[in-house]
Chain length 205, copies 2
């Protein structure tokens, strides 16, 4: 009898992603994965190949799926500054009670990038460049509308926003309080030259 797939690929990849994000690639065993995904070992190997191949599939699905959808929504927002702030709010919302998520999986993998396959490395680089490109487009929109200062360099500011968001995600899980993360968000506005909201980040003379 030929092998028949009896599970939803997106759903089991999602569950594998949560497992990888919670234990890390190295510490996640095949039996952790079969348990989390609710499929047996034979089905896992048949459908996805090795643990390394499965990991690559999880990351690719996240970047092409969840990230792409979220980014289309953000690019469609009429106020580019609001869209940038929404990205920060999403990172700040990853507090200590939240389950490990895909954004954090990219960070964990980036920290250990030299140990991963070329395929995984390419996906991590793509995910980070996608976020950077989104910020760059929003900055362009802000330049056009006048919401973002004309002296704000697009490309380097986009990279700095990627770094700030990453710091928020790393420390949102209990290291920093929400008030600390909001301070970081205010500095993102300062970097953009959005003057209206700078009060919190300005020194009282």
């Amino acid at each position: 009898m030929p092998w028949v797939k009896t599970f939803d690929t997106d759903e089991v990849l999602e569950k594998a992603g949560v497992m990888f994000a919670s234990k890390g690639f190295e510490a996640t065993s095949i039996s952790d994965l079969t348990q989390a995904m609710g499929i047996n070992k034979g089905s896992l190997y048949h459908a996805f190949g090795s643990k390394r191949d499965l990991f690559e599939a999880v990351l690719r699905k996240d970047v092409m799926g969840r990230q792409a959808t979220a980014f289309r929504q953000l690019e469609g927002m009429s106020d580019p500054v609001a869209a940038i702030l929404a990205i920060f709010d999403g990172a700040i919302a990853q507090h200590e009670g939240s389950p490990p998520n895909a954004g954090n999986l990219i960070i964990i993998t980036a920290l250990d990038l030299p140990e991963h396959s070329d395929g995984v490395r390419d996906i991590v680089k793509l995910a980070v460049r996608n976020l950077e490109t989104l910020f760059a487009r929003l900055i362009d929109q802000g330049h056009e509308s006048g919401a973002i200062s004309g002296t704000t360099g697009r490309d380097c500011t986009a990279k700095a926003l990627v770094a700030l968001i990453t710091g928020c995600r790393v420390f949102a899980r209990g290291t920093y309080e929400v008030a600390d993360l909001l301070d970081i968000k205010n500095c993102a506005l300062k970097l953009l030259g959005v003057n209206a909201k700078l009060d919190a980040c300005e020194q009282v003379a």
Copy 2:
């Protein structure tokens, strides 16, 4: 015969730290540790207790030792802006060929903070607050000397610098090129209001 310690505690903790940073807490086994540290299992348990206790000792040693020494040197520098840039250069130097290091161990642990003991959580928070405090003191010095703009808020800028450094460290291991990381460093200067070095981060009108 009473148990006699035949190893240098600092040295074996250092080696345990490299192992934890390379595999992560969960994936690091006791035999990984005994091999890396060059001591047997009995000595490890006798001297340090459980894997969790050893991890706490590794982090504490790093924060109280390496971090404290480095910070004293930086606070002693006469030019606070140069000291801040030196911290960025240190993070940027963590390229893909570098071995996993203690700064990255703090980041990996922060990403997974809810899973760790109270002791570990306290040390991670302390390490991050120490870095923030160092930045805050350097900003104070820069305010006094006039090197840093008086409109740069001390506390929120210090936190944003912590976040920017974290982003640099996460992406320095192969995700970003050195040029990208230097762009982020330039944005740190912009955030500080250090006008002399802003060219690279300014939009050409």
